[in-house]
C-alpha cells in the first residue's frame, strides 16, 4: 500500500548570497515560504525538482521539503524548515530582519 504523498515545496540556497529561497509556481525563486508552490503530486514534485536542479547559476542544493497549506500560503511542517524560513533565533538576522519572514501563525 503506498502512503499518501505529503505535500512538498522545492527549496534551495541562492548561489551568490547563500540565502534560502523557494520555487514558485511561476518559476521564480522567492525568499518567502508562503509564495512557494505547494506540490501535492509526487511525479510533479520530481519534475519541479529537476527544473530547480538545472538552474545551476541561480541556486545550490535544491531539495523537496515537507510543507502544508496555511492561511497565507504554504507553511513548513518541520522545525528545521521553520528556522530556514525565518532566520537564527539568537539575532534578528536573515529573513526575519529583511521583512521576508513568512507570516506563520504557529511561530
Amino acid at each position: 500500500m503506498s502512503r499518501r504523498f505529503s505535500p512538498k515545496v522545492v527549496t534551495a540556497n541562492r548561489l551568490r548570497e547563500g540565502d534560502v529561497v523557494y520555487l514558485t509556481a511561476d518559476d521564480r525563486w522567492s525568499p518567502l515560504h508562503t509564495e512557494a508552490e505547494l506540490i501535492e503530486d509526487e511525479a510533479h514534485a520530481q519534475l519541479r525538482l529537476l527544473h530547480a536542479a538545472a538552474q545551476k547559476l541561480q541556486v545550490v542544493g535544491a531539495y523537496l521539503a515537507d510543507a502544508r497549506p496555511g492561511p497565507n500560503g504554504p507553511e513548513p511542517t518541520h522545525f528545521r524548515e521553520e528556522f530556514r524560513s525565518r532566520g537564527p533565533s539568537n539575532y534578528a538576522h536573515g529573513k526575519q530582519a529583511d521583512g521576508k519572514q513568512a507570516e506563520l501563525p504557529n511561530v
Binding site: 547563500g18 545551476k56 528545521r80 528556522f83 533565533s89 538576522h93 536573515g94
Partner: protein
C-alpha cells in the same frame, strides 16, 4: 609571535589567487556545484542553513592585535558586524556572500591568516592550551611545537586525502586545558625521571557519535622526536584507516579495530623508518620558531593598586576571583575575557569588541591575545597593577562578565541556528540557562561547573566531556535534549554518562536547575565541586533529580 615567512606568505597568496579564479568560474557557470564544492571546502567555505559560512583558522589560538582588527574589519564590511569563536580555535563568519569571499581571503592574507585546512580530510588547525606561554604550571610553551606541526601539515602532499579529518591538540602543562584526550593525537607535556621535557602521546581520542578517550601510545616522547613520530602515526593511519565507511574512518575506530598494542607496534616500526630521514632539519627549524615565541619583557613592578581595588570593589573582586589565572611571571596574571555575557551567544564578539580587545592587548597585554576552545578571549600577560584599569575598560564594552568556569560559561556549538548538520538548536539553550542562573543569583555559590551543548551527534560543543552535557536531537520532528553527567575534558578525562530519556526544549532549563539544587543539597561543603560530588555520590541522586523517585531503575 610567529610571523609569516616569505614562503608562508607566497603560499597563502597563491591559494587566494587560485580560489579567486575558482569563484569566478563558479559564478560564470564554468564550474558546477559538484566541482566547486570540494574547492570551496578546501578554503574553509561552507554553505549552511541561512548563508555561506567562512571558517578561519587561528593557529593554536594565538592572534595579534593587528589580526584581531582585521577580523573586526571583515565582520563589519562583509558580515553582520560580529564573528563567532569556536571550540576548534577558529573564527566563523556566518553571513559572507560568495562573490566577496576572495576579498575576505585576501584581507586575511594581509595579516598572515587563512582558511586553508579548516575543512576536508586533512590535518586541521592544531589547537593548544590557551594559557600557553603564560601558565604558572607550564613546563614549556607548546606553541613552537604547534607551529612546527602547522608548517609540516600545511599542504603536506601525503596527508591531503586522509580517510577522515585529523585533529591534533597540544599542551605544555601537565594540567590539560586543551582536551588532548579527545583528539586524534593528543600531546601532553610531561617530564621524565631525568627531568627532561617530552610528550605523553595519546592516539585515537575523539567525541562525535562514538566518543572515545585516547589511548597512551607513548608515555614519554623526547621533544626532538615529535615530528617523525607524528608523521609515523599519520602514515599508519593513512594506510589502515577505513575509507569504506565515513562513520568508521576516524583513527579512534582504527584504534578499536586494530587494538592499542598492534597499533603502537606499527607506529613504532614506522617511526624507526622515519626518524633517520628527518636529519635534523626539523630541529633547526624548531630553533628558529622558538625565537619567535620568546616571552615578552615582563615588567618588574609592584602590584600597585591591585590589592586596594580587590578589597574595596566587590565587582572587581568577583571578576578577579573568576577571570584571572596564575601567571608564571611575578606580578602578572592571565586574564580571561568572557564572551559569555548572560543571555548572549557564547563565543560571539562584535567588531567593536574585537577592536577594543586589540587596543587593550596593546595597552596592557604586551600585544598578545589568545582564543580558547572554551570560546573566550585571553590576554595572557597582564601586569596586576593594570588590572583595575583593564577591568574598567572591559566593563564599558560588556566584556567584564565575571563567570569564567561557572554555570554560565557554557560551550555551545552553532546548532540549528546556523549549522546545516544540526538536529536541534544549542545557542538559545545556553542563553536561557545563563539567564536563569543569573536570576537565581546562584552561580558563584555553585562554583566550578562546565556545561557543554552540541546541536547534533557530531559533538562540536564537546557535550561528552561536560560536567553536564546537553545534546540536541530531533525526536519525531521535535527538538529533544539528552543530558549526560560526569564528563571531564582534563587530564582526568571521562565521557559523561547518558541519564535517560531526553527533555523537551522548554524542559531543559528546569532539569539543569533540579540537578544543581540537588548538588547544593548534597555536597559536603562549598569546596566539593559538582564533578567531585557526582564522583563521590554516583549518578543515582542526580538521576532522581531529573526523573523523580522510581525512575532510577526504569530510566
Amino acid at each position: 609571535m610567529y610571523d609569516y615567512t616569505d614562503f608562508d606568505e607566497s603560499f597563502v597568496r597563491a591559494r587566494v589567487a587560485q580560489f579567486t579564479q575558482q569563484v569566478e568560474r563558479r559564478l560564470d557557470g564554468s564550474l558546477t556545484e559538484e566541482e566547486f564544492r570540494p574547492l570551496r571546502l578546501m578554503n574553509g567555505l561552507y554553505l549552511q542553513l541561512h548563508a555561506y559560512m567562512l571558517r578561519v583558522a587561528i593557529p593554536y589560538g594565538t592572534i595579534n592585535p593587528r589580526q584581531m582588527r582585521q577580523l573586526a574589519m571583515i565582520a563589519q564590511t562583509y558580515d553582520k558586524g560580529y564573528g563567532h569563536f569556536t571550540t576548534r580555535q577558529n573564527i566563523q563568519f556566518n553571513w559572507p556572500k560568495l562573490p566577496d569571499v576572495p576579498a575576505i581571503l585576501s584581507a586575511l592574507a594581509d595579516v598572515g591568516m587563512h582558511a586553508i585546512q579548516t575543512s576536508g580530510n586533512t590535518v586541521r588547525n592544531v589547537t593548544a592550551d590557551h594559557f600557553a606561554g603564560a601558565a604558572a604550571d607550564e613546563i614549556e610553551d607548546p606553541r613552537p611545537y604547534a607551529e612546527l606541526l602547522r608548517q609540516w601539515s600545511t599542504d603536506h602532499p601525503e596527508f591531503q586525502f586522509l580517510p577522515r579529518k585529523f585533529k591534533i591538540a597540544i599542551t605544555g602543562s601537565p594540567h590539560d586545558r586543551a582536551v588532548t584526550r579527545a583528539h586524534d593525537i593528543g600531546l601532553r607535556m610531561v617530564r621524565n625521571a631525568a627531568g627532561e621535557p617530552g610528550f605523553e602521546v595519546l592516539v585515537g581520542g575523539g567525541l562525535g557519535r562514538t566518543p572515545i578517550i585516547g589511548a597512551v601510545v607513548r608515555d614519554f616522547l623526547p621533544v626532538a622526536d615529535l615530528l617523525p613520530y607524528v608523521e609515523a602515526v599519520l602514515s599508519v593511519y593513512n594506510t589502515l584507516g577505513r575509507r569504506d565507511n565515513k562513520y568508521k574512518a576516524r583513527i579512534k575506530i582504527t584504534l578499536q579495530e586494530t587494538g592499542k598494542e598492534e597499533l603502537s607496534r606499527m607506529i613504532e616500526a614506522r617511526f624507526a623508518e622515519m626518524r633517520p630521514l628527518f636529519g635534523g632539519a626539523d630541529q633547526r627549524l624548531l630553533e628558529d620558531i622558538r625565537a619567535a615565541f620568546a616571552p615578552p619583557a615582563f615588567r618588574n613592578a609592584p602590584d600597585g593598586a591591585f590589592d586596594d581595588f580587590y578589597k574595596a570593589d566587590p565587582v572587581f573582586r568577583a571578576w578577579a576571583d573568576t577571570n584571572l589565572a596564575a601567571h608564571r611571571a611575578p606580578g602578572y596574571a592571565i586574564v580571561t575575557i568572557s564572551l559569555k555575557a548572560h543571555g548572549q551567544t557564547p563565543g560571539d564578539a562584535t567588531a567593536e569588541q574585537m577592536r577594543l580587545i586589540a587596543d587593550l592587548a596593546e595597552r596592557y597585554g604586551h600585544s598578545e591575545i589568545r582564543i580558547s576552545h572554551e570560546q573566550n578571549v585571553i590576554l595572557p600577560h597582564v601586569h596586576k597593577s593594570d588590572l583595575p584599569a583593564l577591568h574598567a575598560a572591559l566593563s564599558q564594552a560588556g566584556l567584564a562578565t565575571a563567570n569564567i568556569g561557572l554555570v554560565s560559561d557554557i560551550i555551545a556549538c552553532p546548532g540549528m541556528d546556523y549549522c546545516a548538520l544540526a538536529t536541534a538548536r544549542s545557542i538559545p539553550v545556553a542563553q536561557e540557562i545563563a539567564t536563569r542562573f543569573q536570576e537565581l543569583d546562584l552561580e558563584h555559590e555553585i562554583g566550578p561547573l562546565k556545561i557543554k551543548i552540541s546541536g547534533c551527534i557530531n559533538a562540536c560543543g564537546h557535550h561528552h566531556v561536560g560536567h553536564i552535557g546537553i545534546l540536541g536531537l530531533d525526536r519525531a520532528g521535535v527538538e529533544n535534549y539528552q543530558i549526560t553527567l560526569g564528563g571531564d575534558g582534563t587530564e582526568t578525562a571521562a565521557i559523561g554518562e547518558k541519564m535517560g530519556p531526553g527533555f523537551a526544549y522548554d524542559q531543559v532549563v528546569p532539569a539543569v536547575e533540579r540537578l544543581l539544587r540537588t548538588y547544593l543539597d548534597l555536597r559536603t561543603d562549598a569546596g566539593e565541586t559538582f564533578l567531585a560530588a557526582t564522583r563521590r555520590l554516583g549518578l543515582g541522586p542526580f538521576k532522581t533529580a531529573l526523573y523523580g523517585e522510581g525512575a532510577r531503575d526504569a530510566a
